[in-house]
């Protein structure tokens, strides 16, 4: 009888402990759904408010005082050009630094400094990069509030992302690949350029895409360098035959980008402009999320297909 009672008690304890398992499972799912529902709500709200504004005119019109006629032509062209500069700067410099750190660097204090420094830079708030750009690019170098300044700023901002992911990609390549190449008499650079970079390419690309998707949505540093919000013209096109339109004039042109245009429309009291902001946000979010999706897919494929 006593045994039976004890059994009952034990069972009750086990049941109550197991109940906690179920409760936590539900709580965990609820916590996940807070995040995912927010994402869904964000998306839905933009679609409801912004989708009606997404006509062809929206992409080919300049911003205007009348909400109904405003468009994002100067914003998307500006974003594209700034991204071009960012990519031209961050990709070579980032990949080269990663190759240096992973393949060439000796283990000494200087290498340690570079490594700690990169970790640290990844944690610097983006607005501080804006201040750096304001002091350095805009006033010290005299680039002005131009596409070049903005592109370089965002390039510096995403440099740690590109470096870290390239290093991971290189580290994942087994040592025997290097040894095989060296055994055939390859120099260090031949090993890097003929083997390591091609094999690490999916990982490197993932980092570049994630970096660029972060840069394209970055607002604070670009506001800090003083990008104008009302731009109703495009940067000069090279090779138009006019004397003023030199090859690189566009680099020094004033500009606006998508996030700044959104900020501008959001901060106006008139709700008609909010619809514009929603439409532009929808374009931007679809762009960044699809870049992220490509990166995730690349990483997934990479993990699946690689068998050394």
């Amino acid at each position: 009888m006593i045994n039976n009672e004890k059994n009952q008690k034990l069972r009750a304890i086990i049941r109550s402990h197991k109940r906690w398992d179920i409760i936590f499972g539900v709580v965990g799912l609820l916590a996940m759904s807070v995040g995912i529902l927010t994402l869904a709500a964000l998306f839905l709200q933009m679609v409801i408010d912004g989708f009606p504004r997404l006509t062809a005119d929206f992409f080919t019109n300049f911003p205007s005082r009348r909400a109904g006629q405003s468009g994002i032509l100067s914003a998307w062209v500006g974003s594209l050009l700034v991204m071009l500069v960012t990519a031209m700067f961050a990709i070579p410099v980032g990949v080269a630094s990663a190759i240096y750190l992973e393949e060439y660097a000796r283990k000494n204090w200087f290498t340690d400094i570079i490594e700690i420094n990169i970790t640290n830079l990844a944690g610097v708030p983006s607005i501080v990069y804006g201040l750096l750009a304001l002091g350095l690019f805009v006033y010290t170098f005299g680039f002005g509030q131009s596409i070049l300044s903005a592109g370089l700023t965002l390039g510096l901002l995403i440099l740690p992302i590109v470096i870290v992911s390239t290093r991971e990609a290189l580290r994942a390549i087994p040592q025997m690949v290097r040894e095989g190449a060296y055994a055939c008499g390859a120099t260090k650079w031949q090993v890097c350029s003929d083997h390591l970079i091609p094999y690490g390419m999916p990982g490197i690309l993932t980092g570049i895409i994630i970096g660029l998707s972060r840069a394209i949505g970055e607002t604070a540093p670009i506001i800090t360098i003083g990008a104008l919000t009302f731009i109703a013209f495009l940067p000069p096109v090279p090779f138009t035959g006019e004397a003023t339109a030199g090859m690189f004039d566009w680099l020094f042109s004033p500009f606006t980008v998508m996030p700044i245009q959104i900020f501008n429309w959001t901060s106006r009291p008139d709700p008609a402009f909010h619809a514009n902001a929603a439409a532009a946000s929808l374009v931007l979010v679809v762009l960044t999320l699809s870049m992220n999706a490509v990166a995730i897919w690349l990483r997934y494929r990479l993990r699946k297909n690689l068998k050394w």
Binding site: F24, I36, V128, F263
Partner: protein, 311 residues
Amino acid sequence: MSNPPLTGEARLAQLAKSKAARKRKDKMIEGILLLAACVSVFTTLAIVYILLKESLVFFSHVPVWQFLTDSQWTPLFDDAHFGISVLLAGTISSSAVALLIAIPLGTIIAIYLSEFAGHKSREVLKPLLELLSGVPTIIYGFFALLVVTPLIQKIYPDLPTFNILSAGIVMGIMIIPYVSSLSEDAMRSVPMSLREGAYALGSTRFQTATRVVVPAAFSGIASAYILGISRAVGETMILAVAAGMQPNLTLNPLEPAATVTSFIVQVALGDLPHGSIGYQTIFAAGLTLMLMTLSFNLLGYWLRRKYREAY
């Protein structure tokens, strides 16, 4: 091949020469790569130099003591006051709201993904959650101002249009993936044998998770929290859009307030002449921000070092 192939000494000499050339080229390439690696060091030096240079000019006009103790922040008025505590109050209250959301939710999600979810659902849920950190912050700002604030106003009608609360909530949701991903990585690196030991003693999943895995992964989880804090402190656009930009010495999240970051945005939006005291205040504010995030990063680094359990 017009020349006949070289033989003997001549061939060896030719080989040695081409080897030397190859080595020279390799050295040159190494130099170029090193130069690229130094760009990041130069970036840090440039940040420190620019912030210090402009801040020193600022502090020659405004004593440091006043900067730290004054309770007003009116740098652009005739009667200028420079009390950074006003902006810090905004930063602290908004970060507190964000962390109250991000830390509990992030931790629960991390435990759930690492200990409860099956392999398949983790593979789907984790990237989906990481998309949260891929959304541009300006869009979160827009969302906070035009969706979350009206929503809270339905429950609490006295809430002003611009307030710290809704900006903080949205910021917290944005930070969730930073906290959860890193914490989950830390928990997953806890060796299986510890879990198996716990299960063998009759623990349930929940007990294993909270009494074995979480304490064992503590250093990683703590550094994930610190990364979250440093993100919250440095976040700019959500606050600039949804929290209003007027300086307000209060810790009450139901009021509008400016933060260190949104003040910089506000000044940059205006038309301040280069070299004026207003222009220099943003560098002083930036220096404050940089020192805060730097100390958090160092704290995280130290925690990881000190409490790392080696298996």
